[in-house]
Symmetry: C2
Subunit: 444 residues, 2 copies
Amino acid sequence: MISRRLSRFLVESRWEDVPAAVRHAATRSILNVVGTALGGSADAALRRSETVLARFSGPPEATVVGRPGRVDCMTAAYLNALAGNVFDFDDTHPGTIIHPSAPVAPALFAWAERQPITGAELLHAFVLGTEVECRLGNAVSPWHYARGWHITATCGVFGAAAAVARRLGLDEQRMLWALGNASAQSSGLVETLGTMAKSTGVGHAARGGILAALLAEAGVEGPEAPIEGPRGFLRVMGSDADAAGVAAGLGESWEIARNECKPYPCGVVLNPVIDACLDLRAECPLAPDAIAAIVVSGHPLLRQRADRPGVTTGREAQVSAQHAVAVALIDGRAGVAEFTDRRVASDDVRRLGALVTVAEEADVPVEAARLVITMRSGERIERFVPAARGSARRPLSDAELEAKFRILAAHGCPGFDPEPLIAALWSLESAPQAAAVIGLARHG
Amino acid sequence: MISRRLSRFLVESRWEDVPAAVRHAATRSILNVVGTALGGSADAALRRSETVLARFSGPPEATVVGRPGRVDCMTAAYLNALAGNVFDFDDTHPGTIIHPSAPVAPALFAWAERQPITGAELLHAFVLGTEVECRLGNAVSPWHYARGWHITATCGVFGAAAAVARRLGLDEQRMLWALGNASAQSSGLVETLGTMAKSTGVGHAARGGILAALLAEAGVEGPEAPIEGPRGFLRVMGSDADAAGVAAGLGESWEIARNECKPYPCGVVLNPVIDACLDLRAECPLAPDAIAAIVVSGHPLLRQRADRPGVTTGREAQVSAQHAVAVALIDGRAGVAEFTDRRVASDDVRRLGALVTVAEEADVPVEAARLVITMRSGERIERFVPAARGSARRPLSDAELEAKFRILAAHGCPGFDPEPLIAALWSLESAPQAAAVIGLARHG
């Protein structure tokens, strides 16, 4: 009865029961993902996908962040989710490493431009959608990602479906069908990471969520137990999944409150590694030619996801410890400009990156990492970062989030004034029309 | 290099190298699936999905089989694939139990209405698409379906992508990206079987295939090894998959030649069971009240997929041995009319179905089954069917396929004259415009 209990919760949840801290965490997550979508709006993956999808768009009704035109709401959801996740600079749910906002917030904003809702209604649906998404992720982690599932896409479609279904006002039965229709679309392979196809998977999740909800509203029926059934999500895409946890304590704890916003535009496992490099460089810049070897070590996920030597594109570099270490030590920065194709191709970065190896330390948490540099002189320099910037113990401040937003806007949309949008996003909860807020993200 | 070898084959294959028998098998499969789509065009799953998707359709350009309007080609592909598979009456690839045509042929016909192609070009792309789809299915069977993957949807998206990519004339690299973009969308859970969500999964596969090909054409890049990579399709969605088999003997054998068309609108495992019931009834009708117990037994898949007592809808009845046995013994028929909600709800069928149990016989092939009826008198009647109608050893004749087409058209589209469409489909290979053929399927 887990799917049904979850459905009932999604239908019955009241905004007034969502604590203020959760609301603020949701607002921060949304601000962050609109920023990353602005930053991604110039990316080739977005532009090429837009070219294709615009030819098949229905009535123009919804904003593509950072772009001038409008497309139908399912297409807008797809494109904004893609753009929001394309740099891997969006928010991260610890433990699952889901990027919760990219599939859910764009689906809701796009829907809001079709059917008016308030900012508070959007926020509430967002909190509910990310709750479903992250709880499913919790239940199948860590096996799911290790097996090769791109968890942001596979769980994201459920989150987007739940969020939009809530805004449609579906009853419990139809909410259950929305989850069932989402289950039929849950997809995304880790093999696509480092390529544009990864980002399209997140787009599919957002679009698929709207579709799942609309199909359910129209009476397209799904199974009774899409989540816990014998051939449902948890059993097929998980192994010994924690089914009971999916529906335990609903309304008492909120996953979005645990969500983290990244300081660097790359895989979250690299954050403590970059911190260590930047800290070290700030204290004592090392001449790259004087370095003999670099070992980074940490939680097994660090090696599994980011031991990627010899990358050739900015996209691959986002999940390359070799590139991240080299560029952070040389440039003393790790922003969008340090993860471009051009920076990846530089001789200095490639030479230093070739000296980096990645090791596992079973008992180091995922937000921590160790950096050991051996100099040609034989000197050994070590840095251990117990908790990366952006992690639960060191969250970015609201001001830091705003600063990140401005950098992303400048990168993706030169000439765009982000201030009205930033202000509107901070006061989303009191906005009479969510559509008016996202409309401020149009540009050009 | 399997993904790349497959891509090269898809790009280089020549129609003149495809044997006549393979071409005829492809034509039969297409005729069959257009027929099942006509039959499904009145189904609520189709009508409700059409209501939703038509609101988001781009330019009207493509036929929805059995329906009056036009929608954009991606939407048409979705709806026709859904309709083609909704009754489980479409073709079946033995061994994998993929329904190969439903995701692939609708994608191609829809595309043909956007960009003119000949009938032979469509047939060639269809042969290639089903080849990819079924070879992937072979590689992951039987684990994949047993795990809970709806193989028609999961493999179908690759087939549709390959087929449309071939028609777009993509080069080897872009063909590889098309497969990569398909891999990001491969989805479909067995849990949805018996519900409308199953059919939407097949729709997603067809639409997703077109999208994957168009994204690749536009330069949306995918991974180098979406099929055989460490986190690619075979490893994530298979277990000890036969990777080498995917690209072995390409162009020498053709999976579509092994494809089978069903005599009954239900799960293919039920075919020999229904044969046994109909044979028996033709010889000696039994009074249902005189029956004490019925045991059907066969290949383990029979029990795993179709031991489904107490069904309440026609859709569930399609995968219920209990319903199939009861209705075949009572009515002496097993057509579309015998798998409706109304027939399922009848007291006589429910009473007799309650006497049916399903057992496994490890050494019985999937096209065979045994029926043992124990009468209240103690008499025991046994029938063994070694090869069901529609199986490789007893294929439906072309005339039987035509008859099936007419029944389906009459069911789904009362008043529609199917003869021009049947004639056009038989001569598809020489059609100057494939679009003109599918245009004959418009109705109302």
